[in-house]
Amino acid sequence: MRKKKTILFGTLYSLAVLVFVLFALGPILWSFIMSITPQTELVGNTTRLMPVSPTFDNYRKLLSNVDQQGELFRNGMLNSLKAAVVSLIIGIPISVLCAYPMSRLKFRGSGFVRNILLFTMAIPVFATIIPLYRMYANMDLLDNLVALIMVYITSFLPLSVWLLISYFDTLPKELEEAAYVDGCSQFRTMLSIIMPVSYPIIFADTLIVFLTTWNQFQIPLILAPSKMTKPIAVVVSEFVTKSSVDYGLMNAGGILAIIPPAIIAIIFRKFLMKGIVGGATKG
């Protein structure tokens, strides 16, 4: 409606799409090519773009039931999935509980809390990890999945709450008034009136939380040392050892590790947009 599709536009568009896809997927494609290159070819000084004798050995190793790396890898994937799901179950309600009052209810100090929230986004991992480790070690909480999730939640809470607030702000104030007149408590109003309307942002938030948790590396590296809780990012990084760098395996691991979040992203992308639309134009 806004643009007439001329032939020039068509070609420009196709070109732009090509460049875009190359930019977004090119590196990943190269990673895949490396993952099917045998080790000896990988480090040679060649200028070939495709390996002479591609092999799916690395994938076989990672997906096998017998190989040690396969077991490590599957453990890692499982741990990451578990962590992501539990993060969502605990994290989203907490985000909503924080965002709702800051947007829809009047109370003293809401401005202050909002600014503090922004500030916490800026806190680097290293600033808190050492005292956290001490705390957890003293309380014997290392390798405890829920304890780990609590830390993850503090890392994505600011962004998550921010997005929720932006969305809630755009909902008309009248929505709750009807419920209050009927005598509903604020809590109940939130659940039965605001929530159903907010599902786009909730799903958008789900995607963001999932991706953030899936990508966690430094925090679990320190707080989750054992095999039982090690997430996939840590596992993949450990394919690089002091005495050998199995780049093929590492690339294969990286490729496989993208698959779950990519699937979630693809499924949830519609909601991502809808959710952010609501909140993007206003405060």
């Binding site: 977004a24 997927l25 806190i123 680097p124 808190t128 956290l132 408590s185 990286g254 947009m273």
Partner: protein, 289 residues
């Protein structure tokens, strides 16, 4: 009475979590930063006030690392904003493959930073990286280029790598904002005789600014905190040292926890201040209707 308390009750779980797992630790870290705490001299720990901070500011390495961090920050933010905008424009065009393109756009977001760093290392690897192979095959160069040996080359490559990871979020937010601008705005601009470029500059861009606020903040903070990718690309070398890398080296490598904690604190303050600046300036409401 109950009504007044409800907001506070709702905020309670989140607040408690943040207090215990964030504010208490950074307080402790601050305490460490006020001490002389070298782990290899365990008997020598003592309170020295702000001396660690003074030592850091006097160290020329700190300013070098700061300049690296600053360049990375500016490059990442600019690159993310510009490319994010371009991609959003691309995704805004109504075609059949729009959905697929959006999925493609999100995929770089799913990479953990460390995997991202290793992946790009293999593109810019000094002898058998993809860039070198492609350029040699196209006869542009005859010898492999040492991408990761020169300071500015490494810094810009790091910026590229981080931006690549941040662009999905940016483009989605901008896209959403674009799509929520009512069409009447454009129609009235058209009637007033504005062409495409002017429309974009005078109307679209200002309306997008507020949404850019959170994107730029989040991207800036990511850019300042970048660590895993630099280590994957160029190790712990001095040439590409950033603030974060120096803080890490001082803490975990040289075991000077006092100094390292002080550095981390400085990074935190810088990032926080930046965030506040953005929110104050970029975050203005625009009303055209």
């Amino acid at each position: 009475m109950k009504r007044k308390l409800t907001p506070y009750i709702m905020l309670a779980p989140g607040t408690i979590l943040m207090l215990v797992l964030v504010f208490y630790p950074i307080l402790r870290t601050f305490l460490y930063s006020l001490q002389r705490m070298k782990l290899t001299e365990p008997g020598n720990t003592k309170f020295i006030g702000l001396q660690n901070y003074i030592m850091i500011f006097k160290d020329p390495d700190f300013w070098y690392a700061l300049s690296n961090s600053a360049v990375i920050l500016v490059s990442v933010v600019l690159f993310t904003a510009v490319v994010g905008m371009l991609i959003a424009l691309l995704l805004n065009v109504d075609t059949k493959i729009k959905g697929v393109l959006m999925a493609v756009a999100i995929i770089p977001w799913s990479l953990p930073p460390i995997v991202n760093g290793v992946m790009w290392r293999w593109i810019f690897h000094p002898s058998y990286g993809l860039m070198n192979r492609v350029l040699i095959n196209l006869y542009v160069i005859s010898e492999p280029v040492q991408w990761l040996s020169e300071r500015w080359s490494v810094i810009l490559i790091v910026a590229l790598v981080v931006a690549w990871r941040c662009i999905p979020f940016c483009s989605i937010v901008i896209l959403s904002a674009m799509q929520s601008i009512p069409t009447q705005v454009y129609e009235s601009a058209c009637i007033d005789g504005s062409n495409n470029f002017q429309t974009f500059k005078r109307i679209t861009l200002p309306l997008l600014m507020p949404s850019l606020g959170i994107v730029l903040t989040s991207t800036s903070i990511t850019a300042i905190n970048v660590f895993d990718e630099i280590v994957s690309l160029s190790g712990y070398g001095d040439v590409s040292k950033t603030l974060m890398l120096q803080a890490y080296l001082k803490t975990f490598s040289f075991l000077d926890y006092g100094l390292g904690s002080a550095m981390t604190y400085i990074i935190m303050v810088v990032a926080g201040v930046l965030g506040l600046i953005y929110i104050r300036n970029v975050y203005k409401e625009v009303d055209y209707i």
